[in-house]
């Protein structure tokens, strides 16, 4: 028995650890550090229909126990991702979750339709929560009706299960999660970054050229845990949790809250080996806690 095996819609995960979208590019760079087949899955960088340059630099700033980013969905565009990036990843025995973004519902539909046809793409992650683009992104993720509409439109065309990535910058995340569930989503991924800002002491201007950016890293973990805890008790679709994970203990905390798998973002920048390290650290931690299979941890904080 593989005590880390988790099965989710479209995804047979040999372990529940995967790099989060935007923090792992399309895998090439990290493949120089370790064998990507070790990973449970890979969430690739957001893909839009057309190539995008993203925002001006500086695009990152440091904050206490966290960082701000305003990359702005830079990516080579659908065609190049399908023709160059995904084929590169074929050599690894690892399911790909394609992060899909756009400025209009049509954009999402277009990308979803094409990218879901690629054989190693086992699921989509609809990015309706990017705080760093002027159009689309977060605007789709903060209103239940809009979130419903884009999810439904994508579900209609996708050849693989659809996960929707939630924004934490909302008053009532349960309401949005439920709308997305009603629209037919197969799962949720959460959380994307919190909107934040840093100003330079000397110039008084924002450090990020974009002004605001998305806050990630350990600083946001308590917010992520709270949201996974709330949402998991109010939907019947699985959740891939993320936000500040950097240790096997953090992984279990997300499981306890109600996640069925965990994505790792910022921690990849701190330690390029973090994902395989977490995978290796989990079994001894389960031993220490007397847990047979990691799936027993899902929702343990609220399950009777």
């Amino acid at each position: 028995m593989n005590r880390l095996q988790i099965d989710l819609p479209g995804l047979s995960l040999k372990n529940p650890i995967m790099p989060a979208s935007g923090c792992f590019g399309f895998g090439r760079e990290y493949s120089r550090f370790y064998d990507l087949s070790k990973l449970g899955a890979i969430m690739i960088k957001a893909t839009t229909e057309m190539p995008r340059f993203g925002n001006a630099t500086p695009r990152v700033a440091e904050t206490p126990a966290g960082m701000l980013n305003a990359i702005g969905l830079q990516n080579p565009g659908l065609q190049k991702v399908v023709e160059e990036e995904l084929p590169f990843l074929q050599q690894y025995d690892v399911p790909i979750i394609a992060n899909v973004a756009g400025s209009t519902i049509e954009d999402y539909v277009e990308v979803a339709k094409e990218i879901s046809k690629v054989s190693n793409v086992h699921a989509l992650e609809l990015n309706i929560s990017c705080p760093n683009v002027k159009e689309g992104g977060i605007a789709f993720g903060t209103q239940p009706e809009v979130a419903y509409a884009v999810t439904k439109a994508v579900k209609d065309v996708s050849e693989v299960p659809v996960y929707v990535k939630l924004s934490p910058n909302v008053t009532n995340i349960v309401e949005i999660a439920q709308a997305i569930e009603r629209a037919g989503a197969d799962g949720l991924t959460m959380i994307n970054t919190l909107l934040g800002m840093r100003l330079d002491l000397k110039t008084a201007q924002p450090i990020l050229a974009n002004g605001t950016g998305g806050l990630s890293g350990p600083a946001i973990k308590p917010v992520a845990i709270r949201m996974v805890y709330e949402v998991s008790q109010n939907v019947n679709i699985p959740i891939i949790g993320m936000g500040g994970v950097q240790s096997a203990e953090d992984v279990l905390e997300f499981f306890y809250a109600g996640a069925s798998a965990v994505a790792v973002g910022t921690a990849n920048f701190v330690d390029p080996y973090i994902c395989p390290t977490l995978i290796d650290d989990l079994p001894p931690l389960l031993d220490k806690l007397g847990i047979e299979h990691i799936s027993e941890c899902i929702g343990r904080s609220w399950k009777k």
Partner: protein, 259 residues
Amino acid sequence: MKKAYMNIVSHEKIARNIYEMTLQGELVSLMNHPGQFVHIRVGDSLDPILRRPISIAKINKEEQTFTIVYRAEGKGTLLLSQKKIGDLVDVLGPLGNGFSINTVPTGEKALIVGGGIGVPPLLELSKQLNAVGIETIHVLGFQSKEDVFYEQQFLSLGDTYIATVDGSYGTEGFVTNVLNDNPFSFHTVFSCGPTVMLKVIEEKYSTNYPVFLSLEERMGCGIGACFACVCHRKDDPTGFTYRKVCTDGPVFPAGEVLI
């Protein structure tokens, strides 16, 4: 490119707020090109969380050591400055492309222009150029006398001119004052320093000489995965083609990217 804990074998202050640290470990066997950098974790705490990119200033293969020179100014570098001999430092590297010394034909001279904390990587560059018989001229700019470092080390490699903004040492003003006053002859230009300086160097020399510039940009991963450090290509200033400073750079031939 690897991640390793390396041992501090020396660490001292060499100018105002400027520290020189020498680290030992096997990682050094991977270090070859001047202008490459390492990405350093200054502590185990989550605060600060990001690594700091710092250039390799000297490589000593025999002793398996390399040297960095950094300015202790912000949170991370101040913490780094408190480390003691014998402490371990988490180093990721070597990263980036580095300067290519092959671009200078044998018998030709290289002009090396550095500003402030851009000076350190130029020392290893100058050493490697001299090692293959290429003469180097060094023009180095600093704020003030207290900020000057490595003058002797550059002098031992070739003619060295210092400019200080306040005139307290060497020529008063910027490196351009030295460059305008002296009719140097050379084949290639290498430069590292503040962006304003790099722009001037590019404008002044790139039409007539091969020019290589080492850029700085705020980084996330340092290895090409996060798209934090991209810049536009000069031939496509508003398009979506790009170069990453961390992997395509930090050294670019003048004219390749928009600075």
